[in-house]
Symmetry: none
Subunit: 187 residues, 4 copies
C-alpha cells in the first residue's frame, strides 16, 4: 500500500468515529463517512468489505489500545499502592485524552447487535498475565481477575465519561475512589 492510501483509510476511520459519536451508529452512513473523509462512497469499499466489517475492524483496532496504554505505564517492581494508583489514573487519563475513541468503543460494546463475541482479546490477555503475577507476589488480594478488572475500571469510567461534572470535581472524585478501591484490593 502506498502512502496516499494510508492517508485515505485514516480519514475514513476518523470520520467513522466522529460521526458515530455525533449521530450514533444509526446516523452514520457510508456516504456521510465518505463525504467527511473526502473520498467517494465507493472508495470505502476498497478498504473494507462492507459496513459491518468496517465497524468491527475499527472497533477491534481501538479496543486493544487502552490495554497497551495501561501496561506501558506499570512496572513489576511497583508496590500495590503505587500500582493501583498508576493503573487507575492512567485509565482516567486515557479516557480524557482519547475521548472520542473511548466513547466509540464503549458504545460499540454496549450494543449486543454489534459486539457479541466472547473471544478474549490479546490486550486483556496481557493484562490478566500481569495481574496473576501481582497476586502471586502478594501485591494485591487473591481475587478473580474478572472482579479486579471490574472493580478497577468500571467506577473510573463512570466518572470519566460523565459530561455533567466539572473537571476539578472529577479529580476529587477520582482521588477518593482510588483510596476506596485500594482499600478493597490491597492486602
Amino acid at each position: 500500500m502506498r502512502k496516499k492510501d494510508d492517508e485515505k483509510q485514516k480519514n475514513i476511520k476518523e470520520a467513522v468515529i466522529k460521526l458515530t459519536l455525533k449521530e450514533g451508529f444509526h446516523g452514520t452512513s457510508i456516504s456521510k463517512i465518505a463525504r467527511k473523509a473526502g473520498v467517494s462512497p465507493a472508495t470505502v469499499y476498497v478498504y473494507y468489505e462492507n459496513k459491518e466489517i468496517m465497524l468491527q475492524e475499527i472497533y477491534l483496532e481501538y479496543s486493544e489500545q487502552v490495554f497497551n496504554h495501561l501496561l506501558s505505564k506499570v512496572r513489576n517492581d511497583m508496590d500495590g499502592k503505587e500500582l493501583t494508583e498508576i493503573l487507575l489514573r492512567s485509565y482516567y487519563n486515557y479516557i480524557q485524552e482519547n475521548e472520542e475513541i473511548f466513547r466509540f468503543v464503549d458504545q460499540f460494546s454496549s450494543c449486543p447487535a454489534l459486539a457479541n463475541s466472547c473471544g478474549e482479546k490479546k490486550g486483556i490477555k496481557d493484562l490478566n498475565r500481569f495481574l496473576d503475577e501481582q497476586k502471586k507476589n502478594k501485591v494485591i488480594k487473591d481475587v478473580h481477575n474478572y472482579n479486579i478488572i471490574a472493580i478497577i475500571f468500571s467506577p473510573i469510567k463512570s466518572i470519566a465519561i460523565n459530561h455533567c461534572i466539572r473537571e476539578e470535581e472529577k479529580l476529587k472524585l477520582l482521588k477518593e475512589i482510588i483510596t476506596v478501591i485500594q482499600s478493597a484490593l490491597l492486602l
Copy 2:
C-alpha cells in the same frame, strides 16, 4: 370516538425493547416495530410523536424502574453488611430478571446521540437520600454518593451482563465481589 388501547401501546414498547436488543437502535425501524407489535406503522404515531421521542419516553420509563426495585428491598434498620449484600444481590437479580429492559436502558445510555441530558432522575434522587442517611448512621464510609454508586453497581453490572460466563461461575464471582466491595465501603 375510540379510546386509546393500552394493550397496543404495551405491545409497541415490548417490540421496541426486543428489537433494539436484537438489532440495535440501528436496525430498529418503525415498520419492524409495528409488525412485531401487530399494529400498522401509522398507529405507532398515535402513541408517540416520532421515533426519537418514542425511544426517549420508553427509556425514561424503564430507567427509573431499577431504583424503585432496589429501594424496595432495603430497610433503614439493616446493618452495613446486610445492606450492601442486599443491594448488590438485588441489583444482580434485577438485571437477570429484567435482562431485556436493562440492556435496552444500558445501550441507550451509552449512545451519546440519544442520552445526553444531565437531568437527575427521580429514582436516583431517592437513592441518594437513602445513602446520605446510611452515611450519617455510620453504616457505610463517608464517601461521595457518586463514588458509592459507581463502586457498587458497575462491577455487578459487568458480571451480570456478561454472556460468556456460565450462571454458576457468575454466582461465585458475585459472592467474591460482594466481599471485596464490602471491604471497600464498610467502616
Copy 3:
C-alpha cells in the same frame, strides 16, 4: 342545520383557503385543515364527502363571488367611460380586499387537474347579459364578450396580484391601464 355547525363549516372553509395559499394544494391535508379549524379530521367528512369535493365546492362558492361584486357596482345608465372605470376599479379593489379568496380561486383555476369543467357559471352568465346590453346601447364596441372580459380583467389581475410592486405604484399602473383599455373598448 344549527348555528354551531355553520360556524364549524366556516372555520373549515377559512382553513382551506389560508392553508392552500401558504402551502399549496400540495401541503393542504385534511388533518392540517382540521387542526386549523379546531375540529377533528372526521368532522370534515360530516360537511364534505371527500377532499376533492370539498375543494370543488369551496372553489365554486367563491369563484362566483367576484361577478356578483362587479355587477352590484354598475348600472345601466352609466356611460362607457364611467362604466369601464367602475368595472376595472371594482375588480382591482375586489382582489385587494379579498386577496386570499382570489388567490385561492386563481390557483385552483390554473390547475388542470382540478378545474377542468367547461360549464359556464351563473355569475358569468349575468355578466355576459349585461355586456350584451351595453353593446346594443353602443356604449362599448361590438366585440365578442370573451374578448371584452379577457381584455378588461386579465391586465388588472396581473397588476393586483403582483407582490413586488408597491401599492402607490400599482395605483399609477391601474390609472394608466384604465385609459388604455378604454381606448381599446370605447367607441
Copy 4:
C-alpha cells in the same frame, strides 16, 4: 466513474411536466415521475437535490423559453401594426405548440407556495429593452412596460389555454383581439 446520462434527465423533466399537468403538483410524486421516466426513484436525486429544487429548476428553465421565442420573431424595422400582430400571434402559437410546457409554467406561477420570488428573469429584461426602443421610436404608445405586457399577453393566454372553445373559433377571437389591442397600444 460513470457519466451523467442526459437522456435520463430529459426523461425526468418530461415526466414531471406531463404528470404535473395530468395530476397537478399535488399528485406528482417522485416515484410516479421515476416510473414514467424509466429510472429508479433514487436516480432522481442524482440529478436534483430534492423535489422542490427539481420543480424550481425545471420551471426556471422553461419559463425563459417563451421570451426567447417571441424576441426571435420580431425585428426593429417593423411598424407598430406588424409588430403587435407578430408578437400576439407568436405568443398564441407558442402556447399552442408548447401547451404542456406553457401550462406547467403557468400552473407553477399561480402557486404562491412555489413561485414567490420577485427576481426579474433574463428573458423579460430583454423584452423590456425591446419595448423601450419601440416607444422611443414612436411605434407604440408611451405606456409603462408592465401594462403593455399585461395587455398584450394576458388576453391571448386566456384564449389560447381555453379548452372549451374550438380551434376555428379561437382564431376568430384572436383576430378580433389583435385589432382591439392594436387600437389600445398604437399611436
